[in-house]
Structures are given as structure tokens and as C-alpha cells.
């Protein structure tokens, strides 16, 4: 019984969820302006070296000291102190300069820690033009993908669905970027991959739920769009949960065992799965509900808007609760009539309708419950 009728009160709690999302987005925007991105080497021109030092006396300060004669050098530790692996970043303009600086770094480190004790594990030189074009192509790629998705959803569903889906996607991307900024994760090509994966993942979820809503609207067995949406999200709930769990199970080992870029990718993914699942269930359907009332956007879904029950839900009332209480009232009145008691019933429904949801009149309820037990 519980399964068949399962509903998630998406529309009823929409003010909470929208407020929650708005807060997340505001935080993301604030941290963006306050801190900005921690741009990785892919996006910032210059030379980046990963060096390993084979001398137990080394620590980050001695590395910094050893390299102090090089201009604008930044040293960061990678992993644990015992790994003795450091990231060295230097601003250089061209390739020839980068080669000279690289040699200098190696000589400096060998003077400090002994000849043969410093190894360059990785070396990256990124010209200024390259980092520019990487940002541009990435942004273009995302925008083009979004436009195509919008078009596809418009053709397969209706325009309101497409807008809602895209809004949910922007929501996810902004939240994910906010998360990345807050935790000072480096932005690299891998981050782009994570953002795109989340777009794909969240979209996948949203479409599955929209598909349910579309089906429910088409069959028209339930009255009121808000009820239809609640019930559709509810019917997809098992699937939503299991799919999120399996995807998280697959990504989790990466977050635990890997290192570097891939670890960041996995952590971003975990957060993204969470935020994507949330937006597919609680943000996209709400926007669909709002867009449904805009004439001309969604002809089919507009018909599904049922003023009485949908307005009821606007007043924080769960429409099925209303109908249930109404039905119970009706039953009760009939029962009372049959028993031939007093005629107080005529005024009863409107009074009790308000009171059941607010304070619950005790006497009537109790009586009813006892009857059922028998």
C-alpha cells in the first residue's frame, strides 16, 4: 500500500527547496568574487614542475630556500611530508626561458640536497595563448552542449521541460563550482570533465523524472499538476535511490585510493551526484510546475493544472491530504446522518478542513481511529 501511493511532497516543500538552492547559489557567487578560482597549470601560463627529493632532511621550507634565487617561484607540497614531492611553479614567458629555468631548478635543488637527490617527475610548460584557448574551448563546448540538449528536450517533450532542465543544470554547475572554490580545489581539465559529467548525470536523472511526469499527465488519472508531480517523483524514488547508490559505489573507491587530479575528480563527482540528484527531484520539477502556468509554453501540461488542488498546494497544503480529509468528513457525515444524530454537519467540513491540518481536533479523530480498529 505504501509503495503504490508513495508521493514525495516536492511541490509542497518547494519554498524550502528553492530557498535552499538560492542560498547555495548566493554562497557560490559570493565565494567566487571573494576568492576566485584556484587555477591549475592548464589554465595559467608558466612552468610547473613536480619534483621529488631523495633526502630525508628536506621539507617545504628548505626547498623554498634552495630555490630562493629564482624569481616568482611558488612551492607547494604534494601528498604527505614523507613523500618529499613538491610542486614548483614559475612564471615564464616562452619555451626557451622555461628550459633554462628548469635546469636552474634542478641545479639549485642538487646544491641544496646533494647531487642526484632531486628528480623532476613531471614538467609542464603552458604558453599564455594555450591557457586562453583552453578556457574558451571548454566554455564553448559546454554552451553548445547545453543548446543542443535544450533543443532535444524541446522536441521530445515541451519547451517548459527544456527550460526547467537547463535551469537545473545551471544550478548544479554553479553549486559544484562553489563547492570547488570553497575547498580550494585546483581547476584543471579534469574539473571540466567533472562538471560535464555532472551535467550528463543530472540531466539523465531529470529526464527520467520528466518522463514519468509526462506519462502521468498523459494518462490523466490523477487530478492536479502538483499531485501528478509529487506522485511521479515518488514513483521514481526507488530508481533514483538505487542509481545514485550504484554510481556512488563506483566512484567511491576512486575518491579513496587515487591521488592528484583523479581524486579531486572523484570527490567533485560525489558532490555532483548528490547535488544532481537533489536538483532533479526538487528543483527541475518545481520549475516545471511554475512554467506550466505560463500560457503557450507547454500546451499539454497547462491542461493538467487544476486550479483547486494546485492552489491548495500553494497554501502549503498537501492536496491529497485535503482530499483524504474531505473524503473522511463525507464518510463521517454520512455515518452521522445514518445514526440520526444532530445536524451540526452542514457547517462542519469547512471548519474541520482547516483545523485538521493545523491543530487536529482530538475527539473526532480518536473516534474514527477506534472505529477502524474494530
Amino acid at each position: 500500500m505504501a509503495n503504490k501511493e508513495r508521493k514525495v511532497p516536492v511541490i509542497r516543500i518547494r519554498k524550502f527547496s528553492l530557498t535552499f538552492s538560492a542560498i547555495l547559489i548566493v554562497i557560490s557567487i559570493v565565494v567566487f568574487f571573494a576568492r576566485g578560482f584556484n587555477l591549475g597549470i592548464d589554465f595559467e601560463s608558466g612552468l610547473s614542475l613536480k619534483v621529488q627529493i631523495n633526502n630525508s632532511a628536506s621539507d617545504i621550507n628548505s626547498v623554498r630556500e634552495g630555490l630562493s634565487d629564482i624569481n616568482s617561484v611558488k612551492v607547494q607540497m604534494i601528498g604527505q611530508t614523507s613523500d618529499m614531492t613538491y610542486q614548483v611553479r614559475i612564471n615564464v614567458d616562452n619555451d626557451a626561458e622555461s628550459k633554462a629555468v628548469q635546469t636552474q631548478v634542478l641545479t639549485d635543488l642538487e646544491t641544496t640536497f646533494g647531487v642526484g637527490n632531486a628528480t623532476i617527475l613531471e614538467s609542464n610548460f603552458i604558453g599564455a595563448k594555450f591557457s586562453d584557448s583552453l578556457v574558451k574551448t571548454s566554455v564553448y563546448a559546454v554552451l553548445i552542449a547545453m543548446a543542443l540538449i535544450l533543443f532535444y528536450v524541446w522536441v521530445r517533450f515541451e519547451l517548459g521541460y527544456a527550460f526547467s532542465a537547463i535551469i537545473a543544470l545551471f544550478h548544479d554547475v554553479i553549486c559544484l563550482l562553489g563547492f570547488i572554490i570553497i575547498f580550494r580545489f585546483e581547476i584543471s581539465s579534469t574539473t571540466i570533465a567533472a562538471v560535464l559529467t555532472i551535467i550528463g548525470y543530472s540531466l539523465n536523472n531529470t529526464i527520467v523524472i520528466f518522463d514519468r511526469i509526462r506519462e502521468t499527465v498523459k494518462t490523466g488519472r490523477i487530478k492536479g499538476l502538483s499531485v501528478m508531480i509529487d506522485s511521479s517523483v515518488g514513483k521514481s524514488l526507488t530508481r533514483t535511490t538505487i542509481s545514485s547508490i550504484t554510481t556512488m559505489l563506483a566512484v567511491l573507491p576512486l575518491a579513496i585510493f587515487s591521488s592528484g587530479d583523479i581524486k579531486l575528480f572523484a570527490i567533485e563527482m560525489l558532490f555532483g551526484i548528490f547535488i544532481g540528484t537533489y536538483s532533479s527531484n526538487f528543483v527541475a520539477p518545481v520549475f516545471l510546475f511554475l512554467f506550466a502556468k505560463v500560457p503557450g509554453l507547454d500546451p499539454t501540461i497547462l491542461k493538467a493544472v487544476d486550479d483547486i488542488s494546485d492552489r491548495a498546494s500553494v497554501n502549503y497544503l498537501m492536496s491529497d491530504v485535503i482530499r483524504k480529509t474531505e473524503a473522511e468528513k463525507r464518510k463521517k457525515t454520512e455515518a452521522l446522518k445514518l445514526e440520526g444524530k444532530k445536524k451540526t454537519t452542514k457547517k462542519g467540513p469547512s471548519k474541520t478542513k482547516k483545523s485538521t491540518t493545523a491543530t487536529k481536533k482530538p475527539t473526532l479523530e480518536l473516534h474514527e481511529a477506534e472505529e477502524k480498529k474494530e
Binding site: 613536480k50 613531471e122 614538467s123 604558453g127 574551448t137
Partner: protein, 562 residues
């Protein structure tokens, strides 16, 4: 029933095609020794040098044996493709001329490693971030190109010039001994070069600049004749073990023994005859400009002409006026490619004549490789240490395995036998993805592995959607057959819509993304296709067969609603 046979056939066919794609990968990673792999991945020149060295050593071994000893080492008979059973060393050595024996053994090694090389190109290779290596992105310097040309270049002209650059770089590969780099165009004005392993940075540098590889050197004709005479008697003494020439004692100071080469069975230079040249370089190839290949209008002979800038012309003039009537060789990476007699003192415009059409074509191409039609600057150069890569591979495999097991166990716990069907689909999915990646000659990168793991997690989703639908139908009272049919029908468009939208994102990234993102997008897109196939086709078939045979595949928890 017929329909079902057809479907089973399709599934088997897909499995078989995938196996065919995957076979070279299995062969490469399971049956080829580390040492052979390394050699096979080397450039053709290195393979040839190795083959020659081995052949020289083998022949010398044989010659040092007693002539009455029986031939025991079957390698020689394998190499020559004929039985040496019961032959003594003496008889064996007499069975062919020394040159024939040498060629036979060399041929054996050549075939072995060239065919291994073919296997390697068909096997799924690891990306640079996993195997270690260097990736260099070059920007075409359009401004310099236009300045040289004197007018604004159209995009087609630039594009052609970049294609020529790529050709030139490819031709340089063997000359500089850089092991098998991948050279391809990226975007409109960039060239991406990827070199696996741990390339020597100075070698790579001269490879990019093209310096020092091509030059003009004088030929010592007297000593050349002496060397040719000597080695026609003793061919097995010609090479060191590493395939380089032995420098004989009779060589005067400042001379080098080398060969005069044309293209051979490796698709690279074959020794035509020996040549002794002066080690001093008369003119470096980087001065060469505007190489053209023409036919002389009067004599109808093929000619190759080129132009020298002022600086080059001065050097060349001063040199050639001292050496009129001497023989000058075009030397590429220490090998003589062509030699011609200096007719007079030469400066700006030089013409070479006196060879066949093919030779002229070859020389023209060669001279063109000396400089790039459109200059390039290094936009980015990234090196990943191989050891870092090995760790990443080990970690990636570990994470995939654990994630995979977790998902498989979870599905079984949640759906029971039905979960096992989904697990089967998942395994088939992984198998198909790896096969298709190998079949398309893709490389597996770190982000590719991430995409693989993600797709595995998501691939389960399609089955979950179907299972939940089937359970719903069962709850509303459908028969098993009806529930499966309705469940798949209703889930079909849900799954298609959800996957097509994700695939749109994947394809856009594949076309527009940078190389890191591309690796991810490729696995994602392939994963979506294979998961659509396994969930909509393969598991459907399994359910249909099970129902037909009255085997009920339980989807646990279906009774909750009762």
C-alpha cells in the same frame, strides 16, 4: 521462436566482433615479453639496427665454431626458413653465400619485430598520462608565414602549410631516432605531438628545430672504393652489435664510414653502397629554402633546385669554390642520400641533376624536411614520468575492480537473481567498451578510466529503470510475460531520452574538448552505446528466454506491495 534465434545470433555476433577487436590487446599484454615490446615500439631505424646487429653476431658465432660441429641452434634454420637438420656448421655456411645468410637472419628479426609493431598499433595503448611521456603542442606562427610570403595568407594556405609541417615532422621521426611519436593536428593552427616513454629532451628539441640533421659533406672517393672492396669480402664484419657501422682501421683522420641509402623493406633507408665522407659539414640544411622538383625544359631530365639565403649562400660559395670537381654528398643524420659533383662555385640558387625521376622526388622531399613551411612555437610542453604513470595505472585498476565488485554485490543483494542478470549486462558492458576502445585505436587515459568507472555506475541505471517498471507491472497484476513486455516498452523511451541527452554532451565534448576531456568523452559515449545495447537488448533477451522456459527470475521485494 525465430525472432529469438535471431536475437541470440546478434548477441553472439557482437561478442565475436568485440573479441576480434580485443585479440591484439590480449596478445600484446599477455604474450609479448617486456624486452620485445620495447623493441617493437622503437622506430623502424632502431629495429633495423637491432636486426643487423643480431645477424652479424649470429654469423660471427657460427664462423667461430668448428666446421664439423652439427648446427644445433634452431634459430638459424628458422631464420633462413629451411631445415639445417643434420648439417654441420661447415656445410651450413657453404649452403649460401655469407651475404645471403646475413640477409636471411636479418630478415627473420625484421619480420618478427615489424609484425609485433603491427600488433601494438591494434592493441589498446595507454595514454601518456599513464605510460609516461612527453606531449608538445605547437602553435603555427601565422604572422611570420605571412611576412615571408609578403601578403595575407588565406586560411586554406595556412591549413596546407600546417599539413606540410606535419608531413615534414613525420619524415624527421626516423632521422632523429625519436621513438614513434604521434603527430596530429589540433584545432586549426596547432600541432600536437605525443611521444611515449622517456624521450631525450635534446633529441626532441633538435627534432622540432630540424637542426643538424641534414647537411652537405664532401666524399672521400679513394677511401670509399677501398671500403667497398674490403667489405664485399667480409660482410659480417661491417656492423657492431647495435647495428652501427664498424669504423675500420684504414680510415684516415676526420673521415666517417657510412652508407649511401635508398628506401627499403622497412619503408626506410636501405644501404645501396658504402661511402666515406669528411666529418666536417660544409653547409647545414637549415639554410635550405624553396625546394622545387622540376623537369629540365631542354634535356627533359629531372632536376631538384633550391634557394639559399644570403648567409647560407656566402658559406656555400666559399666552400664550393675551393672544391670544384669534388663530390659533395647530401647527408641526412649521418647517411648519404645523394651525391653530386660540384661543377662550379655555387651561391644562391642551386640545381642538382643527373638522377632518375624517383631519386629526384625522394631528394626533393628530403630537402623539404630541412625546414618547416610554416614556423612553429611551443605552446605547451608536458612531461610525465613513467613511474608516476605506473602508480596511476595500478591505482586505477584497483579502484575499478573495487567499484565494480561493490556495484555487482549491491545489485545481487537488492534484486536477487534479477540483479545477477544486470551484473551480467554490466560485465558485458565493460568487455564491449574495452573492445571498442581497442578497435578504434584509442588510447586509455586517466580521465578515460574515470569515464569508464562512471559509465559502469550509470549503466546499471538502465536496468534499474526496467526492473522497477517490471515490478510495477507485476504489482498491478500483469502476468510475468506481460510485465516484462510492458516494463521494457515503457522503459524504452525513458532510457533512450535520458541516454541520448547525455550522449549529446559526450559527442560535443569529443569534438570540441581538449585532449584530456576528449579521452573522457570518448569512453562516456562508447559506454552509453554499449549500455543501451546490453540493457535494452541483452537483458531483455535473457528475461524472454527465462519466461519461455518457465524459469522465473525473481526481482526481490516485488511483494512489498501486497
Amino acid at each position: 521462436m525465430n525472432g529469438k534465434t535471431g536475437r541470440i545470433f546478434i548477441v553472439i555476433l557482437v561478442i565475436a566482433i568485440c573479441l576480434w577487436f580485443l585479440y591484439p590487446t590480449i596478445q600484446w599484454y599477455s604474450f609479448v615479453s617486456e624486452q620485445d615490446k620495447e623493441l617493437a615500439l622503437d622506430s623502424n631505424t632502431q629495429i633495423r639496427d637491432y636486426a643487423r646487429g643480431q645477424s652479424s653476431v649470429a654469423l660471427q658465432d657460427l664462423q667461430s665454431m668448428e666446421s664439423t660441429e652439427p648446427v644445433s641452434n634452431s634459430q638459424y634454420s628458422d631464420a633462413l626458413g629451411k631445415s639445417s637438420k643434420g648439417m654441420t656448421v661447415g656445410e651450413y655456411l657453404e649452403s649460401d653465400t655469407e651475404q645471403e645468410l646475413f640477409n636471411g637472419i636479418e630478415g627473420y628479426y625484421r619480420t618478427k619485430y615489424l609484425s609485433l609493431k603491427k600488433v601494438s598499433t591494434k592493441a589498446l595503448q595507454l595514454g601518456l598520462d599513464l605510460s609516461g611521456g612527453m606531449s608538445i603542442l605547437l602553435d603555427a606562427n601565422v604572422d611570420a608565414f605571412q611576412e615571408k610570403k609578403g601578403s595575407k595568407a588565406t586560411s586554406t594556405e595556412i591549413s596546407t602549410a600546417i599539413d606540410q609541417d606535419i608531413e615534414v615532422l613525420k619524415n624527421r621521426i626516423d632521422q632523429y631516432g625519436v621513438s614513434e611519436p604521434e603527430i596530429r593536428r589540433q584545432g586549426t593552427q596547432q600541432i600536437l605531438i605525443e611521444i611515449a616513454g622517456e624521450p631525450d629532451p635534446t633529441k626532441v628539441d633538435s627534432f622540432l628545430r630540424g637542426k643538424g640533421a641534414l647537411g652537405f659533406q664532401l666524399v672521400d672517393t679513394t677511401t670509399t672504393q677501398k671500403a667497398i672492396d674490403y667489405y664485399s669480402e667480409h660482410p659480417s664484419e661491417l656492423y657492431n652489435e647495435d647495428g652501427s657501422f664498424v669504423q675500420p682501421d684504414f680510415l684516415p683522420e676526420g673521415r666517417i664510414l657510412t652508407g649511401y641509402y635508398t628506401k627499403d623493406d622497412y619503408g626506410i633507408d636501405e644501404l645501396k653502397t658504402l661511402s666515406v665522407i669528411y666529418s666536417e659539414v660544409a653547409l647545414d640544411g637549415s639554410y635550405i629554402e624553396d625546394v622545387t622538383r622540376q623537369t629540365d625544359s631542354v634535356t627533359t631530365q629531372p632536376t631538384v633546385s633550391f634557394h639559399l639565403g644570403d648567409e647560407g649562400a656566402t658559406i656555400f660559395y666559399n666552400f664550393t669554390k675551393e672544391h670544384v670537381k669534388d663530390v659533395l654528398a647530401v647527408v641526412m643524420d649521418g647517411k648519404v642520400k645523394t651525391q653530386a659533383t660540384i661543377s662550379t662555385a655555387l651561391s644562391h640558387d642551386i640545381q642538382i641533376t643527373g638522377f632518375s625521376t624517383d631519386e629526384a622526388d625522394e631528394l626533393a622531399i628530403l630537402l623539404k624536411t630541412a625546414s618547416l613551411p610554416i614556423e612553429v612555437t611551443i605552446a605547451s610542453q608536458q612531461t610525465v614520468g613513467a613511474s608516476l604513470g605506473e602508480d596511476a595505472v595500478a591505482m586505477g585498476l584497483k579502484a575499478i575492480t573495487i567499484g565494480f565488485i561493490l556495484v555487482v554485490v549491491f545489485m545481487f543483494l537488492y534484486y536477487g537473481i534479477g540483479g545477477l542478470v544486470a551484473d551480467f549486462a554490466l560485465i558485458m558492458n565493460l568487455y564491449m567498451m574495452i573492445s571498442i576502445l581497442a578497435g578504434f585505436g584509442s588510447t586509455l587515459t586517466l580521465t578515460g578510466i574515470a569515464g569508464l568507472i562512471l559509465t559502469l555506475g550509470m549503466a546499471v541505471d538502465a536496468n534499474v529503470i526496467i526492473f522497477e517498471r517490471i515490478k510495477e507491472e507485476l504489482r498491478s497484476g500483469s502476468s510475468a510475460i506481460g510485465a516484462i513486455k510492458l516494463g521494457y516498452d515503457k522503459a524504452l523511451w525513458t532510457i533512450l531520452d535520458a541516454n541520448i541527452t547525455t550522449m549529446i554532451a559526450g559527442i560535443v565534448l569529443m569534438l570540441l574538448g581538449s585532449s584530456t576531456v576528449k579521452g573522457f568523452a570518448v569512453t562516456l559515449t562508447i559506454g552509453i552505446i554499449s549500455s543501451l545495447f546490453t540493457s535494452l537488448f541483452v537483458t531483455h533477451l535473457i528475461f524472454d528466454i527465462a519466461v519461455k522456459n518457465k524459469v522465473m527470475i525473481s526481482l526481490r521485494r516485488q511483494n512489498n506491495g501486497k
